[in-house]
Amino acid sequence: MIRRFLTGALVTGGSLVAATAAFAQDAAPAAAEAAAAVPNPGNNAWMMISTVLVLMMILPGLALFYGGLTRSKNMLSTMTQIGAAACLAMLIWVMWGYGMAFGPEGNAFISWGKFFLAGVTSDSTAATFSDEVISEYVFISFQMTFAAITAALVLGATVERIKFSAVMVFTAIWLTIVYFPIAHMVWAGGGLFFEMGALDFAGGTVVHINAGVSALVAAMMLGKRKGYPAEPMPPHSLTLTMVGTGLLWVGWFGFNAGSELEADGTAGLAMINTFVATASAALFWMLTERAVLHKGSTLGFCSGVIAGLVAVTPAAGNVGVFGAIVLGAVASVICFFAVSKLKPMFGYDDALDAFGIHGVGGIIGAIGTGILHDPLFGGPGDGSVGIGAQTLVQVQAVGMTIVWAAIGTVIALTIAKLVTGLRVSPEVEYDGLDIGEHGERAYN
């Protein structure tokens, strides 16, 4: 859906420029054209709500979800890294991020223009998928929250050992060389994946595969936590993880149903899919645990919820309701094996399973979207692109995202290492990053 929108966005951008030029010469027709571009308050209101719902996913959602999974001595550090990285992403977004992803000029990889929001006013509009428009400030804010949460997601792999200063340097560089180009490639008219016809409703490629792969690379470059995997490192508060899970699920409706950019029927489809895919995934994770002779666990429930949400993200408005249920179940089972078998087999320390759930779930979701989009499986596609052809496009987009994210992360982390040293001292790691990096404790 977003890809349909972005062609529109560029056309509107162009027509606004044309309209302004025409205005000077011939006031009457230009005024008529400009009058058409008034945001529908209903759509605008939904997008403003969606935007703050995504903020709720970051703080408190992701902060509590990730924080509860760490050891108590690293609770504050984990939450602070997420909050601060998100704040940095917001500032960078209005300075050069929006221009690099959705600027008026551009090629297949990157755009430019509108840096520091040049030329954007309260009257500026961004197109949606129909003749309607929404306020450009609202669109900028909505997309800003995507950049912020993606940067924060990566940190799930590096918590409990990375320096706070390294997080900030890494975030700034990573957003610039990885996130903004990929967001442009997937969602902007003229972008590489966009022109290939890749489907990504709400960010399966841009957010989850991107963050997941970057997390895996970062975990390997940073090295294992001291004591991993010999000493047990259980989550210190599954209660808070459950609270975070709930907040993420609620916020995700802004993420998915908001990505339609209008409060219409497709947004409704994205909404119901976000319910059922998640429900299916939560139960299937617990069933899988039960089947491999464990008990169905709270952490399994929470992990399943996130796996389902991740998998349905690219698919939200692109598959039917029962396709979403299947997608959630499949992604959940595969993610379970990724975190419980794949991770120990290869021995990387993806501390909070950012790769195992977001990376793997995102890949399943993106490829599954290619299959389930077809009307044969109850999807909203018109059948004009064959299942095989669409799936091939999805696989290509996934493959290129993986390569781009991996190389970009190596560069960003290498620079962060040169500037900050990357990893805390063994003493700080033992005592906990809360006291060592921030001088305070989560619990007294």
Binding site: P426, E427, E429, Y430, D431, I435, G439, E440, R441
Partner: protein, 112 residues
């Protein structure tokens, strides 16, 4: 026999344990303790207000050993636990009057 008490930085515990095992120490008692020396605690900051904690977390290791091995134990702990930063800790050596293994009733060096 000697009874050696060492107070060290907590993150050095694993290394010290491995080093002592390597020189033939078969057992030790470890406690998490709090205390202060010249370091005089540390500062925590909440909303700009500083709080200093007088007591710092440390680990206390207690090892009973033969007279022959005692100097080597002290030297090992000293080397391994040293970071050259303030707060590395102290080692105390006491004379040990007797030792008894409860299970067998053995006494002296054989009980260690």
């Amino acid at each position: 026999m000697k009874y050696i008490i060492a107070v060290i930085k907590p993150f050095k515990l694993d290394e010290v344990r491995e080093a002592l095992s390597a020189i033939g120490i078969a057992g030790m008692t470890v406690s998490e303790v709090k205390g202060f020396g010249r370091q005089k605690g540390q500062t925590e900051i909440y909303r700009g207000a500083e709080y200093s904690t007088n007591m710092l977390p440390k680990v206390k290791i207690e090892v009973a050993t033969s007279d022959a091995l005692a100097p080597q134990v002290v030297e090992t702990i000293e080397q391994v636990a040293r970071t050259e930063a303030i707060g590395d800790g102290k080692i105390f050596v006491l004379d040990l009057a007797s030792a008894t293994r409860i299970r067998t009733g053995e006494t002296g060096d054989t009980a260690l």
